[in-house]
Structures are given as structure tokens and as C-alpha cells.
Amino acid sequence: MNTEATALSDSPDRGRKLHRRHGPPVKRLMAPAVIFLLVWMIVPLAMTIYYAFQNYNLMMPTMRGFAGWENFSILLNDPTFWSALVNTLVLVGACLIVTVGLGLVLALLFNRTFIGRGIARTLAISPFFVMPVVTGLIFKNMLFHPVYGIFSWAMRTLGLEPIDWLAHYPMLSIIMMISWEWTPFALLILLTGLQSLPEDQIEAVRLDGANRWQEFRHIVIPHLGQVLYVVVMLESIFFLTSFAEIYATTSGGPGTATTNLPYYIYLSAFFQYDIGLSSAAAIGAVVLANIFAFFLIRFVAGNLNAGGQR
């Protein structure tokens, strides 16, 4: 035993192998994911920035070249772009308020025990798993239809005038569909948050003489803080890029009433073939998303640090 050990001692290449010997090849484990994201997200993003400064229309292949800020100035002078920006913000804001508010109420409801709660909860979260294109078609035809839709039938039954939802309240209709899909998500996550609330905290605050509202305000809401943040972050990501619901129902109309940024870019790229302009608009969408990300990612970073100190 000893002879073998002595033979192996004093290897000359200490410094070189130091990192590899004391742990796994961390860099090589991370590299595939990092490279994949670089190739599929960051490189194309860089190309988008490049195109945004080019004259590039697939219909006019001869007119290529550096465009300077021209695409951006066209964009900023296009009222449709501004309305698309406003529509995007309205959509994100309204859907966040509805889904989080409704999700919280439903989470509190499903946090109580009642007969068949498990099945009821499972039914209630189902919309989250429905393909958005299907949501669009089902709502557009079978619920929102001014004559044959369920909503119209309900209005008539109540003696009211049926509403042509998509024609008269297009944005509201879109918000209803997206909220229908995403309220279950908020419900699911907030419910899990509620269930992780330690029983002794509730008992302590009750012994301190708090009423239901104080208990909710001072114990439940602070406890849900982090979870709410996660809900808002993930929903923002998806709401900012809403596409299928609009594509399947209003196609951005009537007029430009429901054209949000993704749909605007889609139209200018695939119907006007204007690569330069749509790239410039895409940069706008990225900037907008980054404004959201700036605030939300901070939470993730903060949460990481908190986790690290555990």
C-alpha cells in the first residue's frame, strides 16, 4: 500500500488540475445551455438590431443599405405603432389586475375545505392548459357570437339586448379570454402559497386578537408577497407576447383596436415584407419587455441571494 502511495505522490502538475480535481467540470455542464440560448436568442436579437438600421424590404430586394434612424422615425410617426404600444400596455395591465385579483379571491375560496374541493379546484384550473388558439375560436364563435353565442342567449333570456362583443368591445373581449386562461395559473400558485402559510403564525395573530381582515392584511398578504411577484413576472412575460388569442379572433381589428406590438410586427413582417421597419418595431417590443424585466428580475436576483444565505 505504502509503496504505491509514495510512487503517486508529488505529481508535478498541481496547479493545472486544481479546478478539475475538486468538483465537476462546472463550465462544461453549463456551456450547452448557455450556448443554446446565445445561438437561439442573443444572436438573432443582435441581427434584429442590425436589420433595424437597414433598408430591407423583401418586395424591393434592390433597395438595400444602411438606413440610419429612418426606420425608427417612420415607426415613431406611425399612429398604428403608438396605438399598438398602448394596446399592449392596456392588455398587460388589465390582465394582470384581473388574473391576480380574481386568482387571489379564488385561492382564498379553494383554501377552505368543502365537499369535492379537489375536483372543483381541478376543474377551475383547467383553462390554463387549453391551447390559446382553441380559446380564441371557442370564445369567438360559441360564446361571443352576437346571435348564436351563449352570452347573447343569456342576455336575451334576461330580457336585454345582445352585445356583439368582438365588434363593440374588442379589447375587453381579448382581456376576458386571456384572463380566463391565466386566472387559473394565479389561482394555482397563490393557493400553494396560502397552503404553505405556517399554522402557528395564524394562531399567534389570532391570540393577539386580530380579526379576519387584520389577519389577512398583516399575515397572509406579506406571506404571499414573493409568490405574487412570481405570478406577476411570469404573467407579464406571456401577456407582453399575446398573439394567438388575437390571431384567432379579431386579427388585430376592428381597425387597429386590438393590434398589440407582437401582432403589429407580425403584420409588417409577413404582410408588408418590411424587414427593416418590423425589426425596428421588434426593438421597441424588446425595450418594453426589458422595462418590465428590469423591475421583475431584481426579485429573482434578490431571492437567489436570500436562498444562498440559508
Binding site: T6, D10, R21, H22
Partner: protein, 377 residues
Amino acid sequence: MAVVELNNVAKRYPGSGSKGAAANAVDDFNLITRDGEFIVLVGPSGCGKSTTMRMIAGLEANTGGEIRINGRDVSQVAARDRDIAMVFQSYALYPHMTVFDNMAFALKLKKYPGEDIQKRVKEAAEVLGITALLDRKPRALSGGQRQRVALGRAIVRSPQVFLMDEPLSNLDAMLRVDMRAEIIKLHRKLKVTTFYVTHDQTEAMTMGERIVVMKDGRIQQIDTPNTLYHCPANLFVAGFIGTPSMNFLKMTLGQHGMMLTGPTARLLASPERQDLSNHRGQTLWAGIRPEHLRPTDADDCAALLTGEVDVVEPLGAVTMVQMTVDGHRITAQLDGDTRVSIGDTLTLTCDSDQLHLFDTETELALPRTHAMSTTTV
């Protein structure tokens, strides 16, 4: 079985200050074990004892010095190739494997033949009395049983070195005493060089053949339990080893190099201590263990500590008394039948050869030529 040698071992974390990591977790660590020795690393939390063990394990790289096992420098060798076994504080059993599979895992990785694995695991299980548990998953075991499985996982491999990182700290007090004895028995039987980390000095004293006392990443003293108790190298070791802790008083050494005086207290150093002549007139820390104090009636002794009793704790066999002398908190362990009450004025004395003296600047013990002292390795 192996001789483990640590030469100037150091651990420095880069980017000192950030994230609470100390700049020097371990510094200048030197130790050579005997083959089959039971070494205990003890110290307060954050003293670097666990880091030292993790460096021996190979879970962390030493940034300085070298670690040799049987003469072979393993500083650059991965943990899995060092032929050591470790018992973790959390036991770190694999939750998805049965007890048998937990113990067999290392052997399977080494591609031992099936019957061999069976045999070794069964033997280890018998030694630890967990044969009946082999088919269970860790979650179905009690704390003590998990502890045994963790030990079993280590011994089944017959490694060169055992490392135990506070293995008993998750057990309740009764079980801890039992397991302590069991680990010592196991060590006598297997004679594998063992490093044992603990923050509990009682555990250290009862288990270690030699004890390494650490503080702030540095070794304070390496000695047998007896020597640590009788000849602590410095103020820290003196206060850390022994329960209740040693009492300390700041006193001035008289012109004859024998009499120590405080505002009210008087203590007498052993007349055999010639060396004290160099410290005449200096202020020193005087240390006396609680168990070496005893009450006295009158002024006839040279060593006297007088104060008002603050706390009395009758424990049956002994009575613990706390009082304040010259602004220092003094604990004394008196006979169980001593009659004292709070508020009494009590005078205590002690033998001059039970007195420990420390330099107030360096906090080192004043060297003493004493019958009890043994040389450190």
C-alpha cells in the same frame, strides 16, 4: 489504516469580506497522526474545524500547504480517489435507496463482486446492530438508526481514514452518550485513523486520543485530553476546555514573584515556579477551575477570594455557586452538602499548584515546569 500528515495547510477564500466568508478560514495547520489514531477537532463555530475536515476529505481544495495520506500528497486528488469515508452531520443518506443500497453504493461503484458486497454489508450491519433494517428506506428510520446506517456506510468500505463531522449533534442527549461509547468501541475494533469534528468539548475530551483545539482558523493546542485540561497553552484553551469554564481574574504579581493581588483578592503562586521572577510587578490573568475552589473560614490562608453569592445551584452531588470578586464572575463547584444561600458572603481558597497564569498581552500560558505537563508532539 493510514498516517495523515497536514503541512502548513491553509484555506483562503477569494474576495474576502463578501458574503460573510472569512478571508482565512484555516491558516498554518500542522499535524501528523499516528496510524489508527482518533483525532478530535474542536472549537467554537466558525473556527475552521469543519473546513479542515472538508479539505482532508477533498470536498474543498486547500489553497496552501499539503495533505498527505501515507506519504502521498492528495491535495490535488479528487475526494472519490482518496479512499476516505465520511459521516455527515445530516447523515446525508440517499433517501431513495434502502439501507442495504446506501451501504453498498460505494462498493458497487468500485465494481466489487456481488457476493463480496453482500458479505461486507451484512458484516457491517451486524457490528452496528442494523441487520433488521437493511430493506428499509432512510425515511422509515429513527435518528439513532440513521446515525448507525451512516456509520455503516463508512465502515463497509474499510477506508484509510474516517471523517466524522459532528455526527452526534442531531441526536438527543441520552442517545448521544450511547453512540459516543459505541463509536469509541468501533474505533478500538477497526483501528482506522479517524478525524472527528465537534463543537462540544465534553465529546472531545471523552473521545479524542489527541484533541486539536482551534479558533479563528488557527490551531491553539494539540494535546491529549489530560494535558489540555491541566496545561492549557493559552487563555482560550483554558476557558474552552472543562465545564464549567475556568475562572479568570486580572491580578498583579508581587515583588517576590509569588503573591498575586487584586483589589480584594489574594492568590498564591506555587513556590516551585522560579520562572515567575521575570514577571514581577506585572498584571497577569490568573485562572482557577471551579472544581479546585473550596470554601474556607478564616484569614489563615494566603489565597483568598471573597464575595457575595449571586446564584446557588444545588445539583445533588455538587453545588454550583456563582459570586462576583473584583468585578469578575467566579464559579465554584462545592460539595453537595455545602450550606450557602444567595446574599451570603463566601470566602474561597485554592491550592497554589492549581493556579494557571497567563500573559495579558499574548494571552499565552506562562511556561511552567510542572510534574503534570507532558510535551506536545
